[in-house]
C-alpha cells in the first residue's frame, strides 16, 4: 500500500506562509510535525513517500520552499528525490516548482 501524505487532510486545507511566527499552518510547522518524521520513517523502512498536494486552497511559494527546501538541505537533494514523489492533479506545475526548491537547497 502506497505511503501517502495527504497535506489537505493530515495537515491543513489552508496552508500558510513560511515560519511559525507568520501564522497558522506554516511551512516550518508542516516540516517539523509531519514531513520530516514521515520522511525519516520512509527512509528507515526503505519506502517511498508520496505527497498528495491536491485539496488545499493553495500553497505559497514560501511554504513549499521552507518545507521541501529544508528537507533537501538536511538529507541531501538525491535522497529526497529518491524517496519523495508527488501527486498534483489540480496544479501540475507545483511538482516542477517543488523540484526547483529541492535542487536549489544546496545553494542556501
Amino acid at each position: 500500500m502506497a505511503n501517502i501524505l495527504n497535506i489537505a487532510e493530515e495537515f491543513s486545507a489552508t496552508p500558510g506562509a513560511r515560519l511559525r511566527e507568520d501564522g497558522r499552518a506554516s511551512g516550518q510547522q508542516f516540516f517539523e510535525e509531519l514531513l520530516r518524521p514521515r520522511f525519516i520513517e520512509a527512509m528507515q523502512e526503505n519506502d517511498n513517500l508520496v505527497i498528495l498536494l491536491d485539496g488545499t486552497h493553495g500553497y505559497a511559494t514560501s511554504f513549499l520552499d521552507e518545507a521541501f527546501g529544508r528537507l533537501a538541505q538536511e538529507f541531501g537533494v538525491n535522497k529526497v528525490k529518491n524517496i519523495l514523489s508527488f501527486i498534483s492533479e489540480e496544479e501540475p506545475y507545483l511538482i516542477d516548482e517543488i523540484n526547483e526548491y529541492i535542487e536549489d537547497a544546496h545553494q542556501a
Binding site: 506562509a17 507568520d22 497558522r24 499552518a25 486552497h57 493553495g58 505559497a60 520552499d65 496544479e91
Partner: protein
C-alpha cells in the same frame, strides 16, 4: 348622591395617578433633552477646538490610483507626512467625483498611520452621489466613524480587515471563494489567487517594516469589489511599509555589502522577473514577486498594476513609469473575470 361622591373620589384618585405619570414622563424627556443638549454643545466645542488647530487636505476630484496616479500619490504622501504638532487632520472629500476601492484602501491605510501618531482624523464625504455610494458601500465606515445610508449598508464590496502580525490565509480563502461565486455562481477554490494573497500578506508582515518590529499596527489592507453584472472582481492590496524597492535595496546591501546602481524601475522589473539572483550573484530566494507575475502571464488574473515607492508598473499595458512623488508602501491591483483561467472546477 353617594355614588356621585364615590365617583368624584375615584375620579380624583385617577387624576392624581395620571398626573404623576405625566410628570414622570416629562421628567424623563427633560433629562434626555438636557443630555442631548450637553452632548451637542460638547461636540460643537470640540469641533471648534479642532478647527483652530486643524489642517485641511483636499482630496483630488478624480480619486483613482490607476487613472490619476501622480495626484493621488502626492495627496497620500502629504497626508502621511503630517506631524502631531501640526494639529488634527481634516480630509475634505466633498469635491471627489470618482473614487474606487484602491484609493479608499490606501486612504484607510494612511488614516491608520496618522491615528498611530495620535493625530485626530476627520473629514467630509463626497457630494457626488455615485462617489459617496462607492465610499459607503466599500466598508470604509466599518473602520471609521460615519453615517451610512440604509441602501449602502449591505454590499458585496468588502474592505477587508487590516492585517497585523500574522498571515490570515483562512480569511483570504473565504474571500477567494466569495469571488469565485461572483464569477461562476459557485463557491470554488482558486489556488493561484490564494497563493498571491498569502505572498502579499507574508511580504507585508515580514519585510515591509525592516527597521523596527512594528507591533499592533495594521500592516495591510485588502479591498475587494464585486461586479456581479459583468462577473468581475477587482482586488486592491495595500501595505504601508517601506515598499518593495527599499526592501530589495536593503537586502542586497546587507548581502553584497555595497549598493547596486540600478534605477528603481530596473530593480522592480528585475525582481518581478525573478532575476535578482542571477544579476547580483546572490542566492536570492525571493519567489513571491515572480509568482505574482506568473499568475498574470498565465492569465489567472488580468489588469495587474503595481505601485511601489516611485515606480508605477502596469503589466497589462506594458507601462513602466517613475512617479513624481514616492509612495511609501506597495499597492497591487488586479482583476479576475470569466475571461481568466481559473482553477474553478474544484469546490
Amino acid at each position: 348622591m353617594g355614588k356621585k361622591i364615590l365617583k368624584q373620589k375615584k375620579y380624583q384618585k385617577s387624576v392624581s395617578l395620571r398626573e404623576l405619570k405625566r410628570r414622570k414622563i416629562y421628567k424623563t424627556w427633560r433629562k434626555k433633552r438636557n443630555l442631548l443638549l450637553i452632548l451637542t454643545r460638547n461636540r460643537k466645542k470640540q469641533r471648534q477646538k479642532q478647527q483652530k488647530n486643524e489642517t485641511i487636505y483636499l482630496a483630488p476630484e478624480i480619486f483613482l490610483l490607476r487613472d490619476n496616479t501622480n495626484e493621488v500619490i502626492r495627496f497620500m504622501a502629504l497626508l502621511r507626512e503630517h506631524q502631531p504638532h501640526q494639529g488634527s487632520v481634516y480630509i475634505d472629500m466633498s469635491k471627489v467625483k470618482k473614487i474606487a476601492n484602491g484609493s479608499i484602501g490606501m486612504l484607510l491605510s494612511v488614516a491608520n498611520i496618522l491615528s498611530r501618531k495620535n493625530i485626530i482624523v476627520s473629514g467630509s464625504k463626497p457630494e457626488n452621489r455615485d462617489a459617496n455610494r462607492t465610499l459607503e458601500r466599500s466598508g470604509f465606515f466599518n473602520f471609521v466613524q460615519g453615517h451610512v445610508e440604509e441602501e449602502n449598508r449591505f454590499s458585496t464590496d468588502t474592505m477587508i480587515a487590516r492585517g497585523k502580525e500574522v498571515v490570515n490565509q483562512v480569511a483570504s480563502s473565504r474571500i477567494v471563494m466569495d469571488c469565485m461565486k461572483t464569477i461562476t455562481s459557485e463557491s470554488r477554490r482558486n489556488q493561484p489567487i490564494q497563493r498571491m494573497l498569502i505572498e502579499m500578506m507574508a511580504n507585508s508582515v515580514n519585510h515591509a517594516f525592516p527597521y523596527h518590529r512594528a507591533k499592533n499596527i495594521n500592516k495591510w489592507v485588502l479591498a475587494v469589489s464585486h461586479d456581479s453584472t459583468n462577473k468581475k472582481v477587482t482586488f486592491s492590496f495595500i501595505d504601508n511599509g517601506v515598499g518593495i524597492i527599499e526592501t530589495l535595496k536593503l537586502n542586497i546591501r546587507q548581502k553584497l555589502k555595497f549598493t547596486i546602481i540600478w534605477s528603481n524601475k530596473e530593480l522592480l522589473e528585475t525582481a518581478f522577473q525573478g532575476n535578482i539572483g542571477s544579476r547580483t550573484g546572490l542566492a536570492y530566494r525571493g519567489r513571491g514577486l515572480p509568482s505574482i507575475l506568473k499568475n498574470f502571464k498565465s492569465n489567472n488574473i488580468s489588469e495587474l498594476v503595481v505601485i511601489s515607492n516611485n515606480v508605477f508598473l502596469d503589466f497589462q499595458n506594458d507601462i513602466v513609469n517613475e512617479l513624481d512623488t514616492s509612495f511609501q508602501g506597495t499597492f497591487y491591483y488586479w482583476e479576475i473575470s470569466q475571461s481568466c483561467n481559473y482553477n474553478g472546477k474544484y469546490t
